[in-house]
Symmetry: C2
């Protein structure tokens, strides 16, 4: 088994959880300073998640202090929850020589276990990411936003057929997966498309964002995203967990409740579907 997939399944098995929490700081909604906020969320939820997923945009928007907070957040997770996967949500993608620099930034400098990437420039451009064999590379295949269909649902002429663009991207991602570390991102707002991706990509983990504030469909995301032998899904929620309460004495506990409910709901759905996990 690829070492990243092993680490990911170890993290899921350790907490019996497929939950990822998106650590996306919004100064207008946090009742305390960013690093104290993140530490509070991490302390309250670290036994309930397999993954923390900081989206770099929200740290970059705060300038150097934001990036310093990201550094401290990563270090803190390593200290108190060393088994949990840290997924840098960066959607990076450029030509290969530039992607080599992004890979260095994300894997060597920040030290993420996994990242999200943008495959617009094709598989050749992504090789510098893929060749970090012990790191997960999540290809953004179907985005969760309302305008995602503009390009992603277009029918393309490929391989003598007419798949949708996102479907063809899933197919290509499977072909690129020679090191075993290619994974996918498909928004929970599009469970039918998730089903298509799962069929095309057995054995590949799928990150499913947009549960909560974005209104993704949990039940169908789990049903249509789960693999045959092992779930192979990560269900991410950000704002609905982080900002469950705006009270400085209560936000962490409120986040814990939402995360716990999410974990338990996912596991209940899996059980009803006959998946023997956790």
């Amino acid at each position: 088994m690829n070492p990243f997939l092993q680490r990911l399944s170890d993290a899921c098995n350790a907490t019996g959880s497929l939950v990822s929490i998106g650590l996306d700081p919004d100064p207008e909604r946090m009742p305390v300073e960013i690093i104290d906020f993140n530490k509070g969320i991490i302390d309250a939820t670290k036994d309930l998640v397999c993954t923390y997923k900081p989206n770099l945009a929200f740290y970059e928007a705060l300038g150097m202090p934001g990036l310093e907070a990201l550094r401290k957040t990563i270090d803190y997770i390593r200290e108190v929850a060393p088994e949990v996967i840290i997924l840098g949500d960066a959607k990076r993608g450029d030509i290969a020589s530039t992607n080599a620099a992004y890979a260095k930034a994300l894997f060597d400098v920040w030290g993420f276990d996994a990242i999200t990437v943008n495959a617009f420039a094709g598989g050749e451009s992504l090789e510098p990411f893929f060749k970090y064999e012990d790191k997960g590379v999540f290809v953004w295949c179907r985005s969760s936003n309302p305008g995602s269909q503009e390009f992603q649902d277009l029918r393309v002429s490929a391989d003598g057929q007419e798949p949708r663009f996102y479907e063809w991207m899933a197919e290509r991602s499977r072909e690129w997966n020679t090191h075993g570390n290619v994974c996918l991102v498909v928004g929970a707002t599009y469970p039918d498309q998730l089903s298509v991706v799962r069929e095309r990509c057995p054995g590949m983990p799928v990150l499913i964002p947009a549960i909560g504030a974005q209104g993704g469909d949990l039940e169908n995301s789990v049903k249509f995203g789960m693999d045959s032998e092992y779930p192979n899904i990560i269900i991410n929620s950000s704002r609905s967990v982080l900002y469950a309460s705006s009270d400085k004495d209560d936000f962490a506990q409120a986040a814990r409740s939402v995360a716990q409910n999410l974990r338990d709901n996912i596991n209940r759905i899996l059980k009803l579907e006959g998946m023997k996990w956790p």
Copy 2:
């Protein structure tokens, strides 16, 4: 005229140059420290360029010191060459709420005049960038890398026709351009595709990277990229200018020679094509 397009044409007219230099630091090839290197390049070329284009990947790969060097580089350009456009090459793209954070990071925190973006999630996702009306938003339409055809040359079913994906992206970009600040990126390695994009998008500036180390075709890039009334192209070279000499006493002057040649060659081609500029 849109205020960014006005600023860009002022910058081109002031130096009689359509040249952009990509400030992409590579510690293994720079004979002096990064900020001294960038200052040397800027001092030696600022009267020869319309644009400096730092690619964020190369700064992020150096960690916090790299980002501090980017800060100082931007500040230095503002100080010594206030008319020159600073284009943050970041290829950012995510869902709209995340893009709002990236827009804040790139336009408000870093202070770029323009940026490159990735349109995979569609025009709706890019609105937070577009609404900065006085900033240029360069949609990555046709990448310069050898694997770009994997997705970008696919034929898509759109509008009752079968355009290539990059062509349809150009068409959509024109539709998105309600504020007048949408521009495009098309690699110099694909002049035929550049011609198609120019036909679809009259009046929209096109950034043309990959002249030099990547082997782009200058003559055809200028011919096929130029607009009818005004060039509306920015020709970028990075490595072949920056690393023209590895001698610490000579690298800046060597860069100046390459930049000057590039400017003059572009203008010679334009003149032969009958463009009354500069």
